[in-house]
């Protein structure tokens, strides 16, 4: 085996059926099983006042016969994902350690703090049911990186979603870009590919993820700077960036941490700068919204409930942004809750875009 991180983390032939089994189970969960739930829901609400909010629908959803099976399979897939992928990483752990050693031709910079203080919620919660999280050791980051390729039902093996996000940005020609909570760089890579002449920097709490991100970026020829930092306390001067992004992050934070992070993002943006956050909100369809919140509970996203009920545009304005808006984003043409396929589960996406005057 080579020391290439992409070779190391590539699926081996014998592993592919296991990955496809996870995808197949997720397809069953989001297709026939979700469709069954919807049929039951429609039967139970037939001839009665239609629930207009998630709260109104909640007791009905709780009584649906298929709900426990839907929840069980959701939980099982998530646990099985980390278990399967964990074993795959264990088979690669020596090669992984070799690959992540600093090398003379590494691109960009990597700054890891010797005495870093993690937020308490970050240290105490195993988000997404991943035992040990992604920040304690390189193994956890690699498990996360491999697992992330099977989460979004076949469309994320090459992180197409993140490329689509970057391609959709309309922020002029930013020269200084900061990607908050970048993990191992899924969005950061896409930003550098879209804006090759810009200085792109990614920050995250997880040192192992940053090491992994730098190795991947180097192998892709992407000159990106990586820094261990907390988005609530950004180690940058005021007015330093033209564009600040964060994807699938805010819902993982307590509300007070979101407020603080938005204020920091506003502080480090130049006047005229833009913040864009990709998130998955409630969609205003009661059944789907209740199930979305249960899904978040099942996969251990404990702050999602509060996040989805908060008005992020208002939060952004409170944080100092002069304008802020949210809008739905369907990069692959699937709009949840539409008449075209109401019995298929699709993760709803939305943008939160805020401007600093």
């Amino acid at each position: 085996m080579t020391d290439s991180i992409f070779d190391i983390l590539a699926w081996r032939d014998e592993e592919i059926p296991r990955v496809r089994t996870l995808l197949g189970m997720r397809k069953f969960w989001s297709g026939p099983l979700y469709g069954q739930l919807r049929e039951e829901y429609e039967r139970m609400t037939d001839g009665k006042p239609t629930p207009e909010t998630a709260d109104e629908a909640w007791p009905i959803v709780d009584a649906l016969p298929s709900l426990p099976r839907w929840a069980w399979l959701d939980r099982h897939i998530q646990d099985r994902l980390w278990d399967d992928v964990g074993k795959m990483v264990d088979d690669r752990i020596e090669a992984l350690s070799r690959s992540l050693q600093p090398k003379n031709d590494d691109l960009g910079t990597l700054r890891i703090e010797a005495d870093f203080t993690y937020p308490e919620y970050y240290e105490t919660i195993d988000f997404h049911r991943q035992d040990g999280g992604i920040w304690r050791e390189d193994r956890g980051a690699a498990v996360y990186a491999m697992g992330a390729r099977v989460i979004h039902v076949g469309r994320n093996n090459d992180f197409q979603l993140h490329d689509a996000f970057a391609d959709s940005l309309d922020a002029g020609e930013p020269q200084e870009i900061l990607d908050l909570a970048c993990g191992f760089g899924k969005t950061t890579f896409s930003l550098k590919k879209k804006y090759p002449n810009a200085h792109v920097e990614g920050i995250d709490l997880s040192a192992p993820c940053l090491r992994l991100g730098r190795r991947m970026a180097t192998e892709m020829g992407l000159d990106i700077d990586w820094r261990q930092a907390d988005m609530e306390h950004l180690p940058y001067d005021d007015n330093a960036f033209d564009l600040v992004t964060t994807t699938m992050t805010l819902h993982e934070l307590p509300l007070d941490a979101i407020r603080q992070s938005l204020a920091e993002a506003c502080r480090v943006l130049k006047p005229g700068g833009t913040l864009v956050a990709l998130e998955n909100p409630l969609v205003g369809e009661p059944l789907r919204d209740v199930l979305t919140q249960y899904h978040s509970q099942i996969i251990v996203e404990p702050f999602h409930y509060d996040f989805r009920r908060a008005d992020m545009a208002e939060f952004a304005k409170d944080a100092g942004f002069t304008e802020a808006e949210t809008h739905a984003w369907s990069p692959f043409g699937d709009k949840p809750g539409t008449a075209t396929n109401p019995r298929s589960w699709v993760t709803p996406w939305s943008w939160i875009q805020a401007y600093k005057a």
């Binding site: 069953f28 069980w72 099982h76």
Partner: protein, 64 residues
């Protein structure tokens, strides 16, 4: 003394575990079936996901 000869012995948590056992077995069966398909020369990789989806749907149908 409990009537272990006749009482229902498995609770909800045990059923969760047993369903996990069944589901894990399904994954092992799929992994083996793909190996067999490859050995027999019937393992078109482009059709693998469809083959696996069909097995999963057949096996998990009672859940829906």
């Amino acid at each position: 003394m409990k009537d272990l000869a006749n009482a229902k012995l498995l609770g909800d948590a045990d059923l969760d575990r047993i369903t996990s056992v069944v589901s894990n077995l399904l994954e092992e069966v799929i992994a083996l079936s793909e190996r067999v398909a490859k050995l027999e020369g019937n393992g078109d990789p482009n059709a693998a996901q469809d083959r696996i989806n069909e097995i999963i749907e057949r096996v998990l149908t009672p859940l829906a």
